[in-house]
Point group: C2
Chain length 689, copies 2
């Protein structure tokens, strides 16, 4: 029963999260104006989430019913209808948990940002803890809810295959949250910038801009709720994958008796304890550097995790090789995060060269950022390649067949520190929003400068955690591919080789490559299309509301109209997008069979990685290139170089915040759907095995 | 000896090419001013080619010596030094043939463009044949020289393995020609546009612009010589691959006795005959449509090829399945070409929506074009997937092991009509240049309108042939992967499965994915960097040469300075680029072994395809979106939408003319290098098989 360490540490994480939540809530929310603005943001965000969750509730229930009918076996053929039922329930539970984590995190973020802005009036070391602890609530509730959910499902059913249902529930909800939030936030952001900054020349976050509230809402629903859900999904999926791979190591042994299954949960639990400690040490002095404090938290978490798992390995007398695979994953995660920081940081050559190239115009600026984005694909892919191969060979040396379990454990190692990572990541938008609120309520330059400092540190952690999320999703996807192979093997009683030279596998790969392309294209087109609508609305308001442009006292734009457009448009774009991805997946499986589907999964992993990294990093680079110019280089704000860089930044926005980050989740979702439907596909595929 | 139909039809093609060359040369080259301009272009182009070929000659000789020493076996270990020697000689011969085809084509294009401009004064139906026959010289000399070269090497050595040497020679030269020409042409184009059109507001091709000659030279070295070399390379590689795969079908039978080896050459020869006929029927009436005439030529070629090969199949009593695979490839090529036209044509929704989005600014215009570019990846990948799988299963039904030969034959089927395709493609830049010359020599609106019509038809054929080139390279790459497996099998005496779940294969795939990313990024960065230098030079000339800006009579810019910058910069960027690609390939092979290298090849094919299609199509879309606006939509020339579209077009230029088209060749080169070094890698790889 050592695995109970998992639910216990999950509960501890949740208790700490609740404690921090009340800490944040206790702080002063500031002046009337500040409360007004934050109230409007809260209202918009709640409206969006409510609408989104309502739409999703329908979707989730329908899918749950379909799953209950068809998988793992159609109910008219199965003897154990209980399994269908538990799978459907687990699916709903997974969706619910992911939604809850997103909601919690967003709620505290909305509370934290106004309080951070208010505290910034007293200084950096008063403001920082509020913003960071706001982020920590998100981080700890993500890991706490995730591991608690997995433990409950596993504890009740004792069957990792049902955990797959829970994981798919979490993943589909995440896909909605990421893609929907991403479309929402960039529609608002791009429209607000294009009319406000470019056409009218009014500053960012200016309260006259009708889209400003929608923009602030977007930061929260996209960045906070979205990224939280993203790592929730990878975290659950990788635990589930490692559990299923462990089951295959000792055939005939019930999962509960299988020490490798339990080890998965134990290590996950230890990761949470490490995260709680890591979060606890993050502090910053009066003149301190928030960025350093955040990094320290990450390193402490890694160290504690490494030591705890080593001690456990010795105590439980499990091979060092498995511990080694876990640590390899952890190190790879950190390395990938750091290289992704290199390619986006404002202090490094790529972003600076991109900024310099803006001198010769927007086109060259875009080409330069895009090129560096392509180059930045190299380190993370190499990192994932080396990590997975090392983990495989380490564990394969224990006993044949352990290699793939090693890949699962290295993914788990990478994701073990996810609590700290999400805490640092959610901190980012809180600082950003605090800055926005400070600007909109006119708190003065000194305060804005402090919030700026918070924001800047947030941008770095955000870059690192995006790289980290991609790396983690990458290793998880490889583990999921292995899981799929294992499931197929169990079904057919023999190993099916996914030979690249098999024309069906190759067909699958080639089609799989296109799915992330289609998905990200449709996300971005939704942003372009929705922005056009919103831009018209913003222009209309400036035209028709007298005194708005001049900033006449008492004249307010109709914020709600913009919030409404962004909400509706995002939800409308979502359903076809996700239905398409699922249908192509099932289509390939049911028409061309198991092998083609394996190729398809691999293909989607390949192009999904490539595009996710390219988009995240080039987007980040353009953003920082613009900021670098705004800091006074190459002519500073208002220069031609700045105008060019703003265009680059606007191209990058949907790259890095809409299309790029959804791709991880897309890959996870289709991999798990393939695993879930494998039995049906084996039975009914038209051609091929 | 039926295979002798190959050299015979190659000679016929060359004779027809020579006839057409003299036809073009006989035409009037126009007024003194026209001859002056065309003389300057010719001079610049020759200077570039001379310098490029001189650099390459060094490279080729060094590589030939290295090959002679090391492959197929190190000379100190081999018993048959003759094989090393023939391989080295074949390599040099391949490089030479490819260079010669490029030079021929460019020479006639340079003659044809001024003569076309002159003939346009008399009307469309006088001008069209000159431009088209100019293109036809290129098309027929490409296929003629290629097939003659292959036949000579094969006839002398009787060994398809030596043909591999010839093919690598052609491919490396092509890679230089494409990447070098691509960097050259876009450096000149981007710089000329940015200073001329954007900063000073002078028209395109204005003789005051110091970069105008470099720009015109670039069109020729990039588009004409580059695309010719590109298809030369794919054509030779696919014949070679099909031959090597055929050898594996009848082990123990000498190649010359192997009817499937000979069938490869026979079908290639019939393709040339079909192309000669297809070229011959292209004619246009007084009010005719050049685009339709060109398409008719393509369809006739396909039809003739289909019939001739069918008759041959019956006569030689070879299974219809093999003929079927060939035809499948042919159809797939045409379909891919047509879809690629859909995504770039000025008359279709993608380009028009992209144009419309320019109303909301450059950023949305770029996002829209990029998104459609991502979507456009779907049809060609699906086409290649279905074609290769169908060809495989058709031929595998003949006898086990014939499947991969089917893939080779379908690639050959696709490339059989290459003569006609290159003719139509090379026609494009001739029309474009004729327009440029007409503008620079002030021939008047009526003439410019006619050259415009020629140019517009050229843009469509260019889009189709780019799609076609990508499809052909795709199928060829799959055939090369199969060839690699075959070579490994022959070396080790057993089939090596490239299992996707093998961690070394996966490691290879992940690294392979990054190589096209790095390559295209470095190409584009070279363009950005070189443009900055050239832009400074253009600005300097406008600043320092009195009367230049005002267009004072007799004042001429220093064209040669710009030509010189473009030439030097392109060559300087090339060597590290290509050396890097080769070293990574050999590094993966010698460190991680045969399986990892197989994964690596597959990975480079995957991302190479994706990026090549994305870049070619989004680039074409932005170009045509701009043209659509210039036709008077959304405010027409000079409007804000137009300015935004010009930025999109400038981003697209290096996408579609530098990075995108080189990727095909990159993939071919590394696939062949892997095949060539397979024996050494088997013997010396550090880890793995």
């Amino acid at each position: 029963m050592e695995w109970l360490i998992a639910p216990i540490s999950a509960v501890i994480a949740l208790l700490v999260a609740i404690y921090l939540y009340y800490y944040v809530k206790r702080q002063e929310p500031g002046t009337k104006k500040m409360r007004e603005i934050s109230g409007a943001i809260q209202e918009g965000a709640n409206a969006f989430l409510k609408r989104e969750y309502k739409t999703l509730a329908f979707f989730v229930v329908i899918v749950a019913v379909l799953l209950g009918i068809f998988v793992p076996e159609p109910i008219w053929m199965t003897k154990t209808i209980a399994k269908n039922l538990s799978l459907a329930l687990a699916y709903m539970f997974g969706s619910f948990s992911s939604a809850l984590a997103g909601y919690f995190g967003m709620d505290v973020a909305l509370k934290a940002n106004v309080r951070t802005a208010n505290a910034a009036r007293k200084g950096l070391n008063t403001a920082f803890p509020i913003s960071f602890r706001g982020g920590a609530v998100m981080g700890l509730s993500v890991v706490g809810l995730a591991l608690l959910g997995v433990s409950i499902v596993y504890g009740i059913t004792g069957d990792p295959a049902i955990v797959l249902g829970y994981s798919i529930g979490a993943s589909t909800l995440t896909l909605f949250a990421k893609a929907g939030g991403g479309i929402y936030t960039k529609t608002a952001d791009v429209s607000a910038d294009l009319v406000g900054k470019v056409e009218l020349g009014i500053p960012e976050d200016d309260p006259r801009n009708p889209a400003v509230i929608a923009d602030n809402v977007g930061d929260n629903v996209g960045d906070v709720a979205g990224m939280g859900a993203d790592l929730f999904d990878s975290y659950v999926a990788c635990i589930m994958a490692a559990m299923l791979l462990a089951v295959g190591l000792l055939p005939g042994v019930s999962p509960m008796e299988n020490r490798f299954v339990n080890l998965t949960l134990i290590f996950a639990g230890l990761g949470i304890i490490a995260s709680v400690l890591g979060v606890a040490v993050v502090r910053v002095g009066k003149r301190g550097d928030p960025g350093k404090a955040l990094n320290l938290g990450t390193y402490i978490t890694c160290l504690v995790f490494g030591v705890l798992t080593l001690v456990t390995t010795i105590y439980l007398q499990i091979g060092y090789e498995i511990w080694g695979a876990t640590v390899v994953g952890l190190i790879a995660g950190v390395v990938i995060g750091i290289t992704s920081d290199y390619y986006t940081s404002i202090n490094r050559p790529p972003a600076r060269t991109t900024a310099e190239s803006a001198k010769t115009g927007a086109a060259i600026n875009i080409l330069t950022g895009f090129s560096y984005g392509l180059i930045s694909v190299f380190p993370p892919l190499l990192g994932i390649a080396v990590a997975s191969a090392s983990a495989y060979f380490l564990c394969e040396s224990v006993s044949p067949g352990f290699g793939v379990y090693g890949i699962g454990m290295s993914a788990l190692g990478m994701l073990s520190i996810v609590g700290t990572i999400v805490a640092g990541d959610a901190y980012g938008p809180i600082g950003d929003n605090a800055k926005g609120i400070a600007e909109q309520s006119g708190l003065g330059d000194e305060v804005i400068k402090i919030t700026d400092k918070l924001d800047a540190a947030g941008n770095t952690t955000k870059a690192i955690s995006k790289g980290f999320a991609i790396g983690a999703a990458g290793l998880t996807a490889l583990a999921l591919l292995a899981t799929y192979q294992q499931i197929v093997k169990d079904l057919l009683g023999k190993v099916i080789v996914f030979d690249l030279m098999d024309p069906l596998v190759m067909l699958g790969v080639l089609i799989g490559i296109t799915v992330p392309c289609l998905f990200s294209a449709l996300c971005m087109l939704a942003v372009s299309k929705n922005s056009s609508i919103m831009i018209e609305e913003i222009r209309r308001q400036f035209r028709e509301i007298p005194g708005l442009k001049e900033g006449k006292k008492g004249v307010k734009p109709d914020y709600a109209a913009c919030v409404d457009i962004a909400t509706k448009a995002a939800l409308k774009a979502l359903l076809p997008l996700i239905t398409m991805s699922i249908l192509i997946t099932l289509g390939v499986g049911f028409i061309c069979g198991i092998k083609a589907l394996a190729g398809y999964l691999a293909g989607s992993i390949f192009s999904g990685f490539l595009l996710a990294i390219l988009m995240a990093n080039s987007g980040g680079m353009w953003d920082n290139a613009k900021k670098y110019i705004e800091d006074g280089h190459y002519g500073g704000k208002g220069s031609d170089a700045h105008k060019a860089a703003v265009i680059g930044d606007t191209v990058g926005d949907p790259f890095k915040d809409t299309a790029g980050p959804s791709l991880n989740t897309l890959v996870t979702v289709i991999s798990q759907i393939a695993s879930l439907f494998a039995p049906l596909i084996v039975a009914y595929a038209l051609i091929g095995l």
